[in-house]
């Protein structure tokens, strides 16, 4: 009973019993419901995880009152945010102010499209999958700029401008790191990249270039999702919350949710590119070992790898102090970009000479 099997049954049943157009729309609807459901679940789980990880790293206990072990704390928080008044301040640009959280949210949803959640369980296996993710994820800066600009508040505007500078710069090295894997695997399609890791994940097969690219990718996506130590866009102690200073209630919750969903998406992409997506851990010709690994379902592999990367990013957040804006740009333009350019060159040499396994 794999996810692929279930989706195939549903697909065949719909097309056998309904006309093609109606069946297609019903599939759209099912996918929409699933994505929104995944959003809600991710928001609850990831915020809980963040609070627990942070408290454990600081030798605290964390939320432990609502439900067993504090499990329902985020549910209670969500209910509180839903019943709060969604206030729109008087002097804001009403249209931009109100649609900004939805734009950020929708971008996070669109990036979900090419992610392979399990074997054969993917919304859209587009032939430029990786490029699509890079292109669409950079639109979210427009939502943030919109929120900051329309708030009519100097802190919001400064936060949004910082966020813009940051995302535009770090996109470069994230793109370079992704290109390294594209060069090694020889395809932009997500399924091609995963298939190329049949004999081992790229982080093992790709020698030094893959490892360097992985480190650079993790640093760059931490910056792209505006998380500490790169959370200058909200920098509580300088900007009282940055671009979402003026937001409250559910509109604030949407920004908050979008941040966590973005983390999930970039970690899923990282897991797909470097850790083999849903591909089980295979080593060249150890038949027995590979066979045992195949018994673990592919969705478990995907979720496990993704949550491992999410944990690493949370680990960053609760360890490192925040960078200054000049240090932030220095890190990108003086260190990450030259290193990733050189690394891409090295990866090309490795790929051409066929030195990878």
């Amino acid at each position: 009973m794999s996810l692929e099997y279930i989706t195939n049954i549903v697909h065949e049943w719909l097309y056998a019993n309904l006309n093609a157009t109606l069946a297609l729309f019903i599939e759209f609807f099912i996918i929409g419901v699933l994505v929104i459901g995944l959003f809600a679940a991710l928001g609850l789980v990831l915020i809980m995880m963040e609070r627990k990880v942070s408290s454990w790293m600081q030798l605290r206990i964390g939320p432990n009152r609502v439900g067993p072990g504090g499990m329902f704390q985020t549910v209670a928080d969500t209910i509180k945010l839903i019943v709060k008044e969604g206030m729109t301040p008087d002097s804001v640009d009403k249209l931009l102010f109100n649609i900004a959280p939805f734009i950020v949210m929708v971008i996070a949803m669109v990036v979900m499209a090419p992610i392979a959640f399990a074997k054969g369980f993917q919304i859209w296996d587009i032939n430029i999958g990786v490029l699509f993710v890079l292109a669409v994820s950079s639109i979210s800066v427009i939502g943030i700029l919109m929120a900051g600009y329309s708030s009519n508040n100097k802190y919001s505007l400064m936060g949004a401008m910082r966020s813009g500078a940051q995302i535009v710069s770090y996109e470069l090295s994230a793109g370079m790191a992704v290109l390294t894997i594209v060069v090694l695997s020889g395809g932009l399609r997500i399924s091609t990249i995963i298939e190329s890791q049949q004999t081992g994940w790229w982080i093992f097969k790709g020698h030094i270039p893959a490892i360097v690219a992985f480190v650079i990718f993790i640093i760059a996506v931490t910056a792209e999702t505006n998380r500490a130590p790169f959370d200058l866009a909200e920098a509580e102690n300088e900007l009282t919350g940055g671009f979402h200073t003026e937001y409250s209630g559910m509109k604030f919750a949407l920004f908050f949710l979008a941040e966590y969903v973005n983390i999930f998406v970039v970690c899923a992409i990282g897991a797909t590119l470097f850790l083999g997506g849903w591909m089980p851990l295979h080593f060249g010709n150890w038949e027995g070992f590979n066979h045992i690994m195949d018994y673990i379902p592919s969705s478990v592999w995907f979720v496990g790898k993704t949550f491992f990367l999410i944990f690493v990013i949370m680990w960053f957040r609760w360890t490192f102090p925040r960078l200054r804006i000049d240090q932030l740009l220095q890190l990108e333009w003086k260190y990450l970009l030259p290193i990733s350019m050189f690394n891409l060159l090295l990866a090309t040499v490795v790929a051409i000479s066929g030195w990878h396994f």
């Binding site: 790293m57 206990i61 490192f320």
Partner: protein, 159 residues
């Protein structure tokens, strides 16, 4: 900046970041043993306050219900916000002499900032800071306390 310096800088940066991650990673794995949070209302039975915690001023009494306060008002003078009011009386000694003695030690808890100046000022070490901290009451008149116990008298030999 030469290439060698550049590489050295990157390497030392990565090393220091990994050192930081090692610390938090270790704490993450050990949190169940080392956690610092006091689950206050639940651990009332085992809660121990730090020795230097300053909760309120109390007067020391020994088993004979005797204290060491001579009523000299040094604490009252030392108090920066009039928390302490000392009422004295004159006892007549067996020799027929009048002697100043403590009648009532009035302590206004609601005014006290726990600054410890009264304890430092006391020449006979009669008062001390207690570790109690659950001071909330429903009526503020309950915050005005009488520190010397009823029927207590000064310990013999304390001048």
């Amino acid at each position: 900046m030469g290439l060698g310096n550049y590489i050295k800088e990157v390497a030392s940066g990565v090393k220091s970041l990994l050192t930081g991650m090692k610390v938090t990673g270790r704490l993450f794995l050990r949190h169940h043993k080392d956690k610092l949070t006091e689950q206050y209302p639940n651990n009332k039975a085992t809660l121990t306050m730090a020795e230097r915690f300053r909760g309120e001023v109390v007067m020391k009494h020994d088993e004979n219900n005797e204290h060491a306060c001579t009523g000299c008002t040094a604490c009252e003078l030392a108090c920066p916000n009039a928390t302490i009011k000392i009422i004295t009386r004159f006892d007549v000694t067996p020799e027929g002499k009048k002697k100043k003695a403590l009648d009532t030690f009035v302590y206004h808890l609601q005014l006290c900032t726990m600054c410890n100046l009264c304890i430092e000022a006391c020449p006979t070490d009669a008062i001390k800071m207690a570790q109690t901290f659950e001071h909330s009451v429903f009526d503020r008149s309950q915050l005005i306390k009488k520190l010397n116990q009823p029927g207590s008298k000064i310990r013999a030999g304390v001048e």
